[in-house]
């Protein structure tokens, strides 16, 4: 069994991208931390041949549901998508339009899009994680992408055109 450090190095960035896309910039690091702490605890019992990406995304999915529920219970601060500077000040920092567009998707579509396009999981695996059929997962991802293309891409292209 590989040292867990190797799992963090190999899959940490992918899980962070997934968490950012699924729960947004404010909750992403908490979700990542809870995911990897839970994964570390369970790691010695993981089957040698297990698909590590799918295992991590399964844990992240449960943590994301917890985070979304906890956020829903909290009183909403004025404006759920606050305007604020990106935390690292770098151009590739993504807080803003993309998250606004992702947040507007139904949760199942957001999850299907993230798990397929950012984690690289096949739809059958995504269906096992989110519930429902493989076809439903495929449709959710396709619908999500279509909406994002119409909302986010259209808006950023418009912005570039100005």
């Amino acid at each position: 069994m590989r040292p867990f450090e190797q799992i963090v190095a190999d899959f940490g960035p992918m899980v962070l991208r997934v968490c950012r896309a699924v729960v947004g910039p404010d909750e992403a690091e908490d979700a990542w931390s809870e995911t990897f702490l839970a994964a570390l605890k369970a790691y010695p019992e993981l089957d040698e041949g297990a698909n590590v990406e799918a295992w991590l995304v399964t844990i992240a999915h449960r943590k994301a549901i917890d985070a979304i529920r906890a956020a829903a219970r909290r009183p909403v601060a004025a404006g759920s998508l606050p305007e604020r500077p990106a935390r690292t000040g770098r151009p590739e920092d993504w807080d803003g339009d993309l998250w606004a567009a992702l947040a507007a998707l139904p949760p199942k579509q957001r999850a299907a899009v993230a798990y397929h396009y950012l984690a690289g999981l096949p739809y059958a695996q995504i269906a096992a994680i989110t519930g429902g059929s493989t076809d439903a997962a495929r449709r959710a991802a396709a619908d999500g992408i279509k909406t994002l293309r119409a909302t986010y891409l259209a808006r950023t292209r418009e912005g570039e055109g100005r």
Binding site: L16, R17, L40, K41, Y43, E92, L98
Partner: protein
Amino acid sequence: MMATMEPEAMDLFGALPAQDEQANARLHARLAAAAAADGVLDVAYRTVNTPVGTLLLAATEQGLVRVAYPGQGHDAALAQLAELVSPRILRAPGRLDGAARQLDEYFSGRRRVFDLPLDLRLAKGFRRAVLAHLLQIPYGATESYAQVAAAAGHPRATRAAGTACATNPVPIVVPCHRVVRSDGSPGGYAGGPGAKRSLLTLEAA
């Protein structure tokens, strides 16, 4: 690892960084701290630069469990720890701060005795008895393999004493470099003959 993305999906997620080094470092440190607090950081490790090369230091909650020379392969040492101790292994320098500091003092000639909790679980039976004896050999002194074998309770097990030294999981701190051939030549060493000569020269100064 990543499925091939359709061009429009690449377009869509281009704003979401694939690698965010600052966030990765921050999250790694947070994970190591949370794991230690929850008692699930079974093995913590770090590397230190020394005059005999970059050493891997690893510790369980009980103490220092492994010191590995570059020639022994740090990855191989971590793989062995994953196999024999636990795969719950993270790079987490905090637990090794004391060991790193004492090694630094040792190499600068300011320390003659290590005062560190040790976890010698990687050595069993006679090998463990040999390590226990090695800890009694004072700084600057040397013994022959035959003397060590006798002190560990098996006077005729000179060769086994040599194997116990060669497989010492915690070299330098458990001073197998103080065991030399009966003709006075240094003999083999896990860190290579050059490292053994360096340590003996340091301690003779």
